[in-house]
Amino acid sequence: MLQIIKNKEISSRKKAAIHLAAIFLALLTASVFILFMGHPPLKVYLSMARGAFGTSYRFTETLIKTIPLIITSLGISLAFRMKFWNIGAEGQIIMGAFGASWVALSYPHLPSFVLLPLMGLGGLAGGGIWALIPAFFRARFQTNETIFTLMLNYIALQWITYLQNGPWKDPGALGFPKIPNFSPQAVLPKLFGIHIGWLIAFILVVLSALFITKTKKGYEIQVIGESEKTARYAGINVSRTILVTLFISGALCGLAGMIEASAINKTLSVEITGGVGYTAIITAWLANLKELRIVLVSFLFAAMIQGSSYIQMAFQIPQSAAQILQGLILFFVLGSEFFIRYRIVYRSRESGGGET
């Protein structure tokens, strides 16, 4: 009979093999789907790769899409390490972008070297405070942070919708609801052809890794993640650590929002996140919350997004079909987590017992 057994430890090599198998299975399943739409699957997949890496322009696009994914995944990972399920990155990005935009629109004439750091602070504060709200309620009243952070996303989104249709509406846009563009000083400069956000992401990866492994707070976060009771017993101030960590977690997401608003949007809009806040949950999780892997997984995801956007145009595949493709890959990869944690064995009734 078939039995499901929990795996104790699994070698990272085996894990990689399982993930790889999942991706292959996903592509296989998706090819049936692509065939149904009347396109040759292999050609579509090759085009997807070509769309993500084929020219230096496309490669740059992929890198630009990687930046917010990395920073947001770092922010989410911090909270996840504590087993604080921060689903609110989307809202924290939005509120970070809001903070940065407030600075940019209030002081458009400041020189760049003053304005950009201030916008950065605005982003950190906006995202940080937005994450602090559910953290406070969790620390004080044991509320469920998953629902709380999720709901705050919608509030943040509606807040921007309100600003866009009301107080911040651009009077020069003849009634069309958009927020005015930033002044040129409020736009992040480029370094080696890509906006400087990549350098910020790189620095944050290093800092996060150091923070978790080398500082006392980082250690405390890991202990709380293992067991809150143990942490209490060890004399760690759990409530305070939750508040501090969530502030940092949200602040990182907020900074991603600032970067997107400044370098990409050059203004604030309801479309600012492009779903990064949700995608980053998946990338953080698949990266096992480890900084270097976050870089790799974020890059692969960005390539997938860029690639499917390319095939949509190249093969005229409807938007929703390109999303189904993405969804299938996700489904299989996430589903394979099951086989990493458990395994199915076949055992005859007589033999029974004994680990294989």
């Binding site: 085996k14 093999a17 399982i18 790889l20 198998a21 292959f24 299975l25 592509l27 296989l28 090819s31 040759p40 699957p41 292999l42 050609k43 090759l46 085009s47 070509r50 020219t55 322009y57 496309r58 696009e61 249709n165 009301g166 107080p167 509406k169 651009d170 009077p171 003849l174 009634g175 069309f176 609801p177 958009k178 563009n181 990409i264 949007n265 050059k266 809009s269 309801v270 479309e271 600012i272 492009g274 956007s309 390319y310 949509q312 145009m313 190249a314 005229q316 409807p318 938007q319 929703s320």
Partner: protein
């Protein structure tokens, strides 16, 4: 180890399955035209009409076209444009008002590419604007609605408080007024171009207020379905929506983009293209009124045809003074015809419209 073997065999299987399917992207023809859509081509409205134009381009010119659907009016459109250029697009039609600033920004980066932005007012050396005098067709549809209404209340589901939409509502209301001086047009804003749910809800709210004819400036047929479900009547938009609401739909102001697209692409291929602003009307056929269905009042046919001819010949102007706004103030003196500048920046309603404009000024 067995798992790795499993993976390997799987990948072999995959390759075997897909062998013979490979090939390369073909970018053989020189001219590639890109189209950016706000919704999906299946919306049966705005994007559907544009996609019909694109297909006409493919058929008549044999030019390769690429499109991207459901592109939001945000920075993503810059990405889309750059990707299209990367895929060889030489001329790009950006089909929604909110793309304007982004198209303008990218147009400066690519001086060799031709950009055409729909319904905006910003132009550069290589970015032109195009639109149609839809208000003429809307006026005609207003005649139909005005003759049909029993309650004297006509509902109008509208997207954004921008001149294009306001102009359309005014033209429609003037059509209503000319056949039914007592009827009023009730406006409800959705603040979205494409949201079937919201559009339907807005139409239902208007029906609740005893409106018995529903018109729309939206991209889907949601308001048509709402009218159909309540046994009311409706005026569509963008394309013929008879099949969607067979008992409610009377007619629709419609777009016919194909000839314009073809003209611009030909000019781009000849090298005779210049930046500019195109605003054609009924006389060009870029806008028109869809055939009246049996749901429309019988007496409408003759009046519509008569006014249509008069507009084309230039004998009649939709916006001609005296025109009063909602407060009774004269906005256009008797004997004056509204200038294009005034039409393109209009921010007030004519007197028989019930609704508010919040422009945030």
């Amino acid at each position: 180890m067995r798992k790795i073997g499993f993976v390997l065999s799987l990948s072999l299987l995959l390759l075997a399955l897909l062998a013979g399917c490979s090939g390369t992207d073909s970018v053989s023809k020189d001219m590639v035209a890109g189209f950016i859509y706000i919704g999906p081509p299946g919306d049966h409205g705005w994007t559907y009409a544009q996609d019909k134009g694109r297909l006409m381009v493919e058929k008549e010119l044999g030019v390769r076209t690429i499109y991207k659907e459901s592109v939001p009016e945000g920075p993503e459109v810059k990405d889309v444009i750059r990707n299209m250029i990367d895929q060889g697009a030489k001329i790009i039609f950006a089909g929604s008002f909110g793309y304007m600033d982004y198209v303008e920004e990218v147009s400066k980066e690519y001086p060799d590419i031709i950009f055409l932005h729909c319904s905006g007012y910003k132009m550069t050396e290589n970015m032109g604007t195009y639109f149609g005098r839809m208000y003429q067709a809307r006026y005609l549809s207003g005649l139909v609605a005005g003759l049909k209404t029993k309650t004297g209340k006509i509902g109008y589901v509208a997207a954004f408080e921008i001149p294009e939409v306001i102009r359309g509502i005014n033209a429609f209301a003037l059509g209503v007024r000319d056949v039914n001086p007592d009827a009023k047009v009730y406006v409800r804003w959705t603040h979205t171009w494409y949201d079937p749910g919201k559009e339907t809800e807005a139409a239902k709210a208007l029906l609740d207020e005893k409106c018995d004819v529903i018109a729309q400036h939206q991209d889907t047929a949601g308001p048509q379905q709402a009218a159909e479900a309540r046994g009311a009547f409706s005026i569509g938009y963008n394309s013929d929506m008879y099949s969607i609401a067979p008992r409610a739909y009377m007619t629709a102001p419609i777009w016919n983009w194909g000839p314009y697209f073809i003209d611009q692409i030909k000019k781009a291929m000849d090298g005779t293209w210049t930046s500019g602003s195109y605003w054609g009307g009924l006389e060009d056929g870029i806008v028109d009124l869809a055939p009246l269905t049996p749901n429309a009042p019988a007496e409408a046919r003759e009046i519509v045809e008569e006014m249509r001819e008069k507009i084309i010949s230039g004998e009649f102007h939709v916006f001609e003074g005296p025109l009063k706004d909602q407060s009774g103030k004269i906005r256009l003196e008797k004997g004056h015809v509204m200038s294009d500048e005034m039409m393109l920046s209009i921010d007030w309603f004519v007197s028989n419209v019930v609704g508010r404009i919040e422009t945030g000024k």
